[in-house]
């Protein structure tokens, strides 16, 4: 039975019990069994991760859509075997409870019928005339597609033949209540027996899937909650394979969004998913920076913990978010205004004094006041160019407030400029890469070197780019780090890396001369190794710092409170 589960080579761990165990009726036992399974599940993904993991890397495994489908199928099969229902019914039950298996098992054991009715896999109980073959059954009946055609009405694929749906006797042409088209010959109905023509079903499902991105399809009848199982959807869509594919994509998306340790790759039109159990909880995000790469492409780098589509190591998500928001918010414009302007004390317009005497006249409200004391000019009497009414205490306070504002602006700009500079340089290094490629070609011609031997340039450019990204984020981190020994050590590491990166950058841009190429090659290779090492030291140290809770911030950071 575990043969569908292919991503694991530890199948015995995944299903540590055999089928008899799964049939156990005791709800409590079931709950614990599924817990074991969840643990086994988490362990599975270690297999996919690289063997030599650095401390600043997280364990994760990229999953393709078929992989996720297999995981879904495993859950569905599990529920299907416990409850003894069709897989398509199990799927609807799981979707209904957002793939929370424990909750589903608990609720189902509590009141199977209520869950089944709420999920739309069982008809709600009706008092006067119970529907045949279903009234006494407490478990949901099969909901295989029920297709009735005037030519053949016995086509019930997917149901175990239990369904005793009598062939519909046609008395006069059946008119579909939606399109009123009496030329239709094919009708479909769910277990609720609300019949509609096949083309209306197709239109309806297409509209739900395409325009509403909805994967929970219910019967078209008013107030009818009966859900359409997958085989029915498949059949109703007939030859529209595109919508069927989209439907399956939506199912996968719904599943992924419900499971905390899965995240969809945010890159456009990528269908991969990443599983990262260690970053599944919010609290873990203050300890690790879960940067992952999806299986589709090495360039699909994103953070599992936050919406940033890039590698923001070494800063944790909360700090990275704060920094980006600060840079974006233009909050520094306000800082500038604060340090360069005053407000008219009457109409509150912002005024920048760009010369002239202290006698100000507001352009807007024509209010005349003194720039120094902000009091009305009329009270100054004859002391035109100096203000002796100036209150000593107020002046000190005003000056202090202005200095503070200026200092914080300068501090921010210090970090921001370096951040922006590295970003800019990283972009330029991509241009440099194009030049380097040319250089490498040249080298192959002008020197004895082979293609493989000139690859050192490419490697060097890659490393420079990567390290500039790290450096960029170290400035965001340093901006928020509380002063102290730890911050100094951090800045030492930052300085060492920065110096090494700049030296390597310079080497890369050096002119190529066939005579010196061998020494250049040696230098670049050595430097590349050194830079890489420095980058690792910095990342390792910060990652360790998070685990040891060594870092303290100069502001409140989400996840670091207390």
């Amino acid at each position: 039975m575990s043969s569908d589960y292919e991503i694991s080579d530890e199948e015995n761990e995944y299903y540590p019990y055999d089928e008899e165990d799964e049939e156990m009726a005791d709800a409590e036992e079931d709950g614990s069994a599924s817990e074991i399974e969840v643990d086994g599940f988490g362990g599975d993904f270690k297999v996919g991760a690289r063997s030599e993991r650095k401390i600043y890397e997280v364990e994760y495994s990229p999953l393709s859509q078929p992989d996720v489908e297999r995981i879904m199928q495993a859950d569905i099969d599990h529920i299907s075997s416990i409850f003894g229902v069709e897989p398509s019914v199990a799927a609807i039950l799981l979707r209904h409870l957002n793939w929370n298996k424990e909750k589903l098992i608990e609720k189902y054991m509590d009141n199977a019928s209520a869950v089944a009715v709420a999920a739309g896999v069982e008809l709600p109980p009706r008092e006067p005339s119970p529907p045949p073959a279903r009234s006494s059954s407490s478990r949901p009946a099969t909901t295989g597609p029920q297709r009735t055609t005037r030519r053949s009405s016995s086509e019930t694929k997917g149901s175990k033949g239990k369904r005793a749906s009598p062939p519909i006797e046609e008395t006069g042409p059946f008119v579909c209540p939606i399109c009123f088209d009496d030329s239709q010959t094919e009708f479909l109905a769910l277990m609720c027996d609300h019949k509609f023509c096949a083309s209306c079903w197709k239109e309806y499902i297409t509209s739900k899937v395409r325009t509403e991105a909805e994967c929970m399809i219910t019967c078209m009848a008013e107030g009818c909650n009966i859900a359409a199982p997958d085989p029915f959807v498949d059949k109703a869509l007939a030859d529209d394979r595109e919508t069927w594919t989209r439907y399956q994509e939506l199912l996968v998306r719904q599943f992924v969004s419900c499971i905390p340790h899965l995240k969809f790759c945010p890159y456009p039109s990528c269908t991969y998913t990443v599983s990262c159990p260690s970053a599944a909880t919010k609290s873990s995000l203050s300890q690790i920076v879960p940067i992952v790469t999806c299986g589709a492409s090495q360039t699909h780098v994103f953070c599992f913990g936050c919406p940033i589509d890039a590698d923001h190591r070494p800063v944790v998500c909360a700090v990275a978010r704060m920094w980006l928001k600060k840079c974006q918010d233009d909050s520094e414009t306000a800082n500038w205004i604060k340090s360069n302007t005053k407000e008219c004390s009457k109409c509150q317009s912002t005024i920048e004094k760009n010369g002239g005497c202290n006698h100000m006249t507001c352009k807007k409200c024509k209010y005349e006041f003194c720039w120094v004391c902000m009091g009305p000019w009329t009270e100054h009497g004859t002391s035109w160019y100096s203000c002796n009414r100036y209150d000593e205490k107020a002046s000190v306070e005003a000056r202090d407030a202005q200095t503070r504002s200026r200092a914080s602006l300068e501090r921010y700009l210090h970090y921001y400029n370096r951040w922006a500079n590295h970003e800019q340089s990283a972009k330029l290094s991509m241009e440099l890469y194009a030049k380097t490629e040319k250089k490498m070609e040249e080298m192959q011609i002008t020197s004895e070197l082979t293609w493989i031997q000139v690859q050192f340039m490419k490697k060097a450019v890659d490393i420079v780019h990567k390290c500039r990204m790290t450096l960029k984020w170290t400035y965001a981190m340093a901006y928020y780090l509380a002063p102290g020994n730890h911050k100094e050590l951090f800045e030492d590491n930052q300085r060492d890396l920065e110096r090494a990166v700049e030296e390597l950058s310079e080497l890369i841009e050096a002119p190529i001369d066939p005579e010196t190429i061998m020494t250049l090659r040696q230098k670049v290779t050595d430097k590349t190794v050194y830079v890489q090492k420095r980058n690792e030291i910095l990342l390792e140290d910060t990652a360790k710092g998070y685990l040891e809770e060594r870092w303290s911030w100069n502001t409140t950071v989400e996840g670091f409170e207390a």
Binding site: F180, H194, F196, Y204, E222, G223
Partner: protein
């Protein structure tokens, strides 16, 4: 033929044939996808005797998407915006089913007038009025029916001339004439007094909860 057009035509024809429900569906400029529906205010409600018109727009993938409906006739009802006529009704949103027709939807609107749902309001002010004093709310709703929907008493009930117009405004807002006069006497404009009292829901039992100072404060804003 286009399935949507066929269906709409059939629905319009069905409505024409059915005389008993007194529900009408008319075309706006020969376009079968922009219609005007009409129905009578249900008996035994403040809307009795009125005729209500609804603007109907048929979306492209009707009947798989709900029709867009809003009241043309002004209605004083917690689930209908008193300003825009927008309707808060589940079947016009997520509870829509392709089986529903224009006629059945209009009937649903009719029954919405019978059973307001003030806990899920479209117009919060009207809902507040309803919750505070149902009888006062009903007076206002009846008055709106008379003025806008051609309800009974429209011809001779209201006075004529300037005095009548003034009374209209107060009755329209569901306020007590004495209350308006009281604040008007303080030197505030009548329109402003009506606006503030309506906003603060100065009606029925709620009058005791609102301090006069609070009203003056609002009036001075």
């Amino acid at each position: 033929m286009d399935a949507r057009l066929r269906r709409v035509n059939k629905e319009i024809a069905d409505c024409k044939n059915d005389k008993s429900s007194k529900i009408t569906i008319d075309l706006v400029d020969d376009n079968p996808f922009h219609l005007i529906g009409g129905f009578d205010g249900p008996d035994g409600t403040p809307y009795e005797g009125g005729r209500f018109q609804v603007d109907i727009v048929i979306p492209d993938n009707y009947p798989f998407q709900p029709v867009k409906m809003k009241f043309i006739t002004k209605v004083y009802h917690p689930n209908v915006s008193s300003a825009s006529g927008a309707i808060c009704l589940d079947i016009l949103k997520d509870a829509w089913s392709p089986v529903l027709t224009l006629k059945s939807t209009l009937i649903s609107l009719q029954s919405l007038l019978c059973s307001p749902e003030p806990r899920d309001p479209q117009d919060a002010e009207v809902a507040k009025h309803y919750m505070t004093s149902k009888s006062s709310f009903e007076d206002t709703a009846r008055y709106w029916t008379m003025v806008y929907a051609g309800g009974p008493g429209g011809k001779n009930g209201a006075g004529k001339g300037s005095q009548g117009a003034e009374r209209d405004e107060i009755a329209m807002a569901g306020l007590d004439r004495a209350h308006v006069a009281q604040f008007e006497a303080l030197g505030f404009e009548r329109a402003k007094v009506i606006d503030v009292l309506r906003r603060l829901n100065y009606r029925g039992a709620n009058v005791a909860n609102i301090n006069d100072d609070r009203i003056v404060e609002e009036l001075l804003k």
